[in-house]
Point group: C2
Chain length 253, copies 2
């Protein structure tokens, strides 16, 4: 049997956590006692924020795309997440990317509020390009890095993630989410998976369910009601995942 | 009156043209006799393609995001264009970004097949985030760099551009395109405007109409029928624009 690549057998030492919203980021920053890095490796003008530190045997950086200068809103959605993932990989050369965040879940597929999901694969539901070849490109299905031992040990739920740039859901979105066989939906995951795959960095996705998409409450209302509580549930889950990662190589996840 | 910044008064010397499809890129590459740059300033694994050369007094680089490794399709849409614009600005420090490409036009707003538009402003029509502040962020309206002399001299049409990741158009898309007051639509412009604005590089948009969105033919069918012809109409327009730019400073555009 051929030897595994060196990165597969040495313990993981350098991880980057990509998070879209400040309310999701700060509990994780506090839990790992990360500190804001004033002289970041990013261009001067971008609003991207990096928190860094050492936790157990790991160098951890958390990247948040910051507030949009024009509107003051958190820079959610696919474009800022793709950009910070690209820039963070270039600057920090991580062994592993973790995208942590809140997500909408389908109860018909087994999701409940507060559930933590590890994602098996990500795809887009708002890139409809009905030309052969381009249709598959639009869907952009990418597998997450396989972590069977982590999932078993932490007893986490597993499901597919579908990503789109809107917080609401049109009928077209819904039918493509179903076609993607998604249990949970977000606004960043598939973009982060795309960039990680482009640069051949393993990526995993830890998602906490803030709202039930196929429930009775309007998506936006339930999202806002539960965001703070679930953002707080996200950071213990990320800690569990990081504790499992610590001391293990990629092939042991 | 305070003096203008140095970049405003010296002639433009370094431009980057961002193009989404190979069929749009190659006529421009040939027209300016650009050559493929084998050792590009981009990471090794990305499919992004850079063509470079000197034309009159200008250093010109054309960047195309290349073929998606997974599907073989051209890497169209907002994410690859945002990434290459970011990477090209970092690597090449251009004075000006030109996004050139094909576009769908609304005849009710004065667009006809083969028209060349200079864009006054770009916004998104597929980022619906109905939370105060986030709604404006989602629309993401950004003005293009103002070029009154160029528009007058070349007698080009001017209009707003609306960007989305799908080639078709749902009712929700249509209503947001109308809200954006767009004459033409594409799949990249607002993402390129976003990155250029983030890094404070002036950006202009040259768009050739390939299909009439509010006409009788299905969008995809007309797009495919006209793509080659209009991609050929795009490169003389880009040449006209570049000829006007040559020898002028930003404030003279």
């Amino acid at each position: 049997m051929a030897g595994k690549p060196e990165t597969q057998i040495r313990p993981i030492s350098n991880i980057v956590i990509v998070v879209a919203m400040e309310m999701e980021a700060l509990p994780i920053v506090n839990r790992f006692r990360l500190t804001r890095q004033p002289h970041s490796s990013f261009p001067e003008r971008v609003p991207w924020v990096r928190y860094g530190g050492t936790y157990k045997d790991l160098s951890i950086n958390l990247i948040w795309p910051g507030k949009d200068p024009a509107s003051g809103a958190d820079s959610i959605g696919t474009i800022p997440s793709a950009l910070v993932t690209y820039a963070a990989i270039q600057a920090l050369q991580p062994d592993l990317i973790i995208n942590a965040g809140t997500t909408g879940g389908f109860k018909a597929k087994g999701a409940s509020i507060g559930d933590i999901f590890i994602i098996s694969g990500c795809a887009f539901h708002d890139r409809r390009i009905p030309i052969p070849g381009f249709d598959l490109y639009g869907v952009g299905l990418r597998k997450a890095f396989d972590t069977p031992n982590l999932i078993k040990e932490l007893n986490l739920k597993v499901g597919r993630l579908s990503t789109g740039n809107s917080l609401d859901m049109t009928l077209q979105d819904e039918s493509l989410i179903m076609a993607n066989d998604a249990t949970v939906i977000d606004m960043e995951g598939a973009a982060i998976a795309y960039v990680a795959d482009l640069l051949k960095v393993p990526a995993i996705f830890v998602k906490a369910v803030t709202n039930i998409v196929d429930g009775d409450k309007p998506i936006v209302e339930e999202f806002l009601e539960n965001l703070a509580a679930v953002a707080d549930a996200l950071d213990p889950a990320v800690e569990q995942v990081v504790n499992f990662i610590n001391g293990n190589s990629l092939s042991e996840l």
